[in-house]
């Protein structure tokens, strides 16, 4: 059975989704500020890392890495609502690319599974 990543189309699917997804984030003033500080070159690479991970692709992040990557955003007020918004944009992006609803749900579930890491509610000191 193909993996989720393979079903979505692998690296090519990540490449196709990254601009659409990132444009949605920058255009949404509820979350855009979190991305403003990061220069766009680097940010594009991070967006790819994000998509590869939630597509079930070859990413080797631990929950602790996710906590660390977002800890400075927590100080700027990152909360559950922002995670909801990101997951919604992710779904809309995949919808635009014609991805089947069942696969979109699987992607959303992976994103959901790191929510507590992103928001610093798991692991040491949380």
């Amino acid at each position: 059975m193909p993996t989720l990543y393979e079903s979505l189309g692998g690296q090519a699917a990540v490449d196709a989704a990254v601009d659409i997804f990132y444009r949605k984030m920058l255009a949404d003033e509820r979350v855009a500020r979190f991305f403003e500080a990061v220069d766009m070159d680097r940010q594009a690479a991070k967006q790819k890392a994000f998509l590869t991970m939630v597509f079930g692709g070859p990413a080797n992040y631990t929950g602790k890495d996710m906590t660390r990557a977002h800890s400075h955003l927590l100080r700027d007020g990152l909360n559950d609502t922002h995670v909801d918004i990101v997951i919604a944009h992710l779904g809309a992006t995949l919808g635009e690319l014609g991805v089947a609803q069942g696969l979109i749900a699987q992607v959303a579930a992976i994103a959901e599974s790191v929510r507590d890491d992103i928001l610093g509610r798991r692991g040491a000191g949380a």
Partner: protein, 326 residues
């Protein structure tokens, strides 16, 4: 905790320190300028140990594979044994021409003593002997032999001040590079191009325009040069005459203060760009010059539909002070 060895000194990298910070603290600082990964002045080689991938972004592949990385971006977790890299990475170059292009912009021509492969629009890092290291973009085509650079004279500037007041034709500097991906892509002869920049950001744009024309580019080329006032539009003649000679080239000027007139718009560059090319989908876009303007323009064209892969930019990030030297 990572241990760094460089020029016979051993230093432990502190919690939030970059390799550059740690080496400076130990008194063995390599050259540096922007401290933001933009100028490549701080390029070092890891002879042993693995430099972080993040610190190798933008470094040419041939160098990356040999362990070169940017000290100002590196926060390695493992030990590194460092050096300045091969001797032949630096090329001596002679100043063969030095003059004013406007009140505050110098035109400098440098003749490398050895072959120095480069593309118009890329940037090189200039090093004064025993002095500072600064990056400048190339306005000339490789066939010209000497590299043409446009240097804005910054009050108190270590490199630009030296070039303006002390350097003479016949003096030498060393060149490192080239780096950067702001150059003409020969495999897209019909793509529409938007070349925009502020101040001496016009230098790489002129280089790219020359390269596009030499290759008989068939798509349209829209050049937009922004400056605070009209006096800053130091390439008006060069761009105007290229636009007159080529039907597919348009030249626009944007100033922040002054009177609008034919071909001159008053307003910030990013706003002017979106008036000129409202939907830059499928356009090839190059943005150079002031970091704030480059950032705003890049964001604007991306949101308006340009693909990230079609936007290339060099922010002319100025020299930053080292931490602790307020």
């Amino acid at each position: 905790m990572a241990e760094l060895r460089y020029r016979g000194t051993v230093v432990q990298r502190g919690e939030d320190e970059t390799v550059l910070d740690a080496l400076e603290r130990a008194g063995v600082a390599p050259p540096s300028s922007c401290r933001a990964g933009a100028c490549q002045s701080c390029l070092l080689r890891a002879r042993a140990g693995t430099p972080p991938a993040d610190a190798q972004r933008g470094v040419r592949e041939s160098l990356r594979l040999r362990g070169y990385f940017l000290a100002c971006r590196a926060r390695p977790d493992g030990d590194l044994e460092l050096d300045d890299g091969d001797e032949d990475r630096q090329v001596e170059a002679e100043i063969v021409e030095l003059g004013h292009l406007s009140d505050d912009v110098l035109g400098v021509r440098l003749m490398p003593r050895r072959a120095f492969e480069h593309r118009a629009g890329q940037y090189v890092t200039l090093r004064r002997h025993d002095g500072p290291s600064r990056s400048y973009s190339i306005a000339s085509l490789p066939e010209a032999g000497a590299l043409e650079l446009h240097v804005r004279v910054v009050p108190g500037g270590a490199m630009s001040g030296w070039l303006a007041h002390t350097a003479r034709v016949g003096d030498t500097v060393s060149l490192q590079g080239p780096a950067g991906d702001c150059f003409y892509l020969q495999d897209r002869p019909t793509q529409d191009l938007l070349l925009a920049g502020t101040g001496t950001g016009a230098a790489p744009l002129l280089g790219i325009l020359r390269d596009a024309l030499r290759h008989g580019h068939r798509g349209q080329v829209v050049v937009v040069h922004g400056a605070r006032t009209h006096a800053g539009l130091y390439l008006e003649q060069a761009f105007s005459s290229l636009a007159r000679a080529h039907a597919n080239v348009r030249y626009h000027r944007a100033v922040l203060a002054g009177e609008p007139s034919d071909g001159v718009t008053v307003g910030p560059l990013d706003a002017v760009l979106s008036d000129l090319v409202p939907v830059p989908k499928d356009w090839g876009i190059v943005l150079c010059g002031d970091p704030g303007v480059v950032h705003a323009a890049r964001r604007r064209v991306f949101l308006a539909g340009a693909a990230m892969a079609d936007i290339r930019a060099d922010a002319f990030v100025p020299t930053a002070a080292a931490p602790g030297l307020a």
